[in-house]
Amino acid sequence: MDLSSFYNQFREETAENIRVLSDGLLAIEAQSDEQVRRAEVDRIFRAVHTIKGGARMLGFEPVARLAHELESVLGELRQSRRAPDHDLAGRLLRGGDALLALSVAAVEGHPATVDVDAVIALFAGAIPPAQDAPAPAPSPDPEAPAPEAPTPRIAGVRTVRVRVDRLDRMLNLAGELMIGQQVLANHAEELATLRQMTRKHERAVQELEGELNRLRFSAGQRHALDQRLSAVQGVTFQLQNLVQHQADQLGRHIGQSDMLVRDLEQEVMAARLIPIATIYGGLPRVVRDIAEGTGKLARIELRGETVELDRKVLELLQDPLMHVVRNAMDHGIESPVERTAAGKPETGSIVVIAEALGGEVRVTIRDDGRGMDPARLRDRAVRLGMLRAENAVRMSDPESLDLIFLPGFSTATMVTDISGRGVGMDVVRSNISELSGQVLVESHQGQGSLIVLTLPLTLVTTRVLLVRVGQVSFALPASSCHGTIWVRRDQMRSIGGQPTVALDGRDVVVRPMSELLGINTEMPLKRGERAPALLVGSPQRLLALLVDALLDEREAVVKSLGPIFAKQRNYSGAIQLGDGSLVLLLNPLALIQSASSVRTSTTDPAPAPRRRVHLLVCDDSFTTRELIRSILQSAGYDVTAAVDGADALDKLRAQPYDLVVSDVEMPRVDGFQLTERIRSELAMHELPVVLITSLASEDHRRRGLEAGAQAYIVKSQFDQGSLLEVIQQLLGSEP
């Protein structure tokens, strides 16, 4: 008989039974009510017994042998021949781990790394008599609710096992349907346009009719015209009715399929939902192991076990959650002595709460330990070379807490087995933001820390912001964006060599998105007075990313770019718009990292090839105008000519220029007036203006500068070289 089809089932069942064993042992320790304890022992006995039976049937002899050994120890516990003391519980837990490892090895058909006999030996030998058993170690809180036996979630409903990749595919297809809905919506819009056009058409026909009625025709002509007109009107009427009918039908269809697609999406999602309790399982063990290893006392309380999350969310949440709890134990909770001295109860407390809030799930991890010391975090960041000393002085306390998310940052002075290996909170944050979630940290020295993980409930669609950078559209997860602001050029201040704007009393660094992406395009602020910017980063360390335009906010299905683009860390995928075009989804975290690395690693990014510089030459004399134009053109500039000041103003309104070269004496608007009006009327305060004149007096030179010109060249001293030199100086670059 082929047993292989039972292997996977056995493995899963065993994993579940080992979980029952671990949870049960921990619950027994924390439980003082004899009856409840007894029930728990019965439960874990049954779990181990089931493993033994299964292993025997499938011929996994080592598994069966070890299970048998555990079973007999548990049998002694059941008959109160042994006491469930701390030490025995520890050995049973190790036995459970070995059992699981053996089962997996047996199912997968590779040799086990576990020495069965050595594990069995753990339980043989001296059986400590029951009366000598020490009291269960971490003093249990009598108020603590007894851990509930995991009851089947939906009793009575028949279930079927579905492969995860099949569910993933279903989720993807549901997403495709959502895109299809957008395409349909586009069609509906086109139909609406068509309707408007038929109305216009009708009006035009009516007007034509009115016009014809005013003209004189013979009776025969009039009759023929009326016939033709009524034929046209008939068609128009039919056309209108048909378009109207189609628009109504399409509208109804869209409404209906919208509902179906949403229902489908919800069902597919629901099929992937798993209660968070499945990843809570390992946490009490972590706390217990660390408590044992460090001599600390702590209790963990888990709330909101029934909150359900998407399988993928849970998968990516598991490690961060484990890590945060580990950190709380290792760095947060103090030793009993320290706690007593601080007037706190000996046993520390870690509380994990999961709650569903609208479309989000919030997981809060709170400890009552020593909290984080912002000054210590700053010191450490400076010592590790992650922060400059002068910046550390300026950094606020809430901002300092954010330092723990830097890669390689760890405050454990000694590398321990538990944490402090420098891989930690940065991984937590990147995992969570991969899910379009957020991590917040709060800490009060002496009172403890609070870490809040916010996660989306669904992964079918992600809310994104669409922005334009240069000529290209990009999307950002809306969850990563803390808001949008207008950055005005005259409000920018340079602090420590970085352009910043003040926002709610804080200085926020401003960077053009194009620069971070390496797109050759003009700075949004080079032309206009103000430009929109997205606020990204953590609330403590915001960064304003300048873009050319904010386009839209919408729901979108995010698709992977695949392994070929794995090294392009700036992008986390692509989304498809209703018209079928793709838009890259930016990864704000990677962008922020590249933002800081550009600043620190190089003094100036390599000068990107620029677009050609465009100059405006203004002179009423044809000869002078053409002379200057040819000089500038042969130097590599794009040149447009204006015949006088008024013409120049018109041209400046129509199109941006990089610099203006102008004569002074001109009809209508002269050079001085032109300069003044560029500054006042057009508000182009930065646009360089070079005046060229035969008026060599000091008085005129001063007038020119007062009007706002940057340079004043006298025609008698005029030569090609000096003009080009001045222009280069003003533009700060070669053409």
Binding site: G562, A566, N570, Y571, A574, L582
Partner: protein, 150 residues
């Protein structure tokens, strides 16, 4: 050394620059007209962007850059050959798709020595077809090279 285990196989002949290349047809999903990909700023030149084909995002791979042949503006003959290799789908940009042909193991010869190693690593064999040389592309090596270089 035996170059290939199977006795014979169908190939798609494509033109890249002025040269003719053969792609194993078992790996080809479809051949579509060229369309402007969405550029990915920061990606190497060989990857001009991404396209969406039946709901899947595919990287476009410019074979002309990869094989270090001159690139021209895309025209009506330009095609994207969508291949599936090593669990990865990519759209190969070629100047045109010419024909299908059937090659047996006997038609395939070893690559001539002295070929530019950069190009040679992407090729599996050389064949004679209708009196002209035909270079057989090693798609597995190509995808590996993309994963390493990109």
């Amino acid at each position: 050394m035996q170059i290939q285990d199977q006795p014979s196989e169908d190939y798609l002949i494509v033109r890249v620059g002025t040269e003719r290349y053969a792609l194993s047809s078992t790996r080809i999903r479809e051949v579509v007209r060229w369309r402007l990909p969405t550029p990915v700023p920061g990606a190497p030149l060989v990857l001009p962007g991404i396209i969406s084909q039946r709901g899947v995002v595919l990287p476009v791979v410019d074979l002309r850059y990869l094989l270090e042949l001159g690139a021209t503006e895309p025209d009506r003959a330009t095609r994207l050959v969508i291949v599936h290799e090593k669990q990865i789908d990519v759209a190969l940009l070629v100047d045109s798709a010419l024909d299908l042909c059937h090659l047996t193991t006997d038609d395939l010869a070893r690559l001539p020595k002295g070929l530019d190693p950069h190009r040679a690593r992407l090729l599996r064999a050389v064949a004679q077809h209708e009196g002209e040389p035909l270079l057989v592309i090693d798609l597995e090596a190509l995808v590996t090279a993309l994963q390493e270089d990109a």
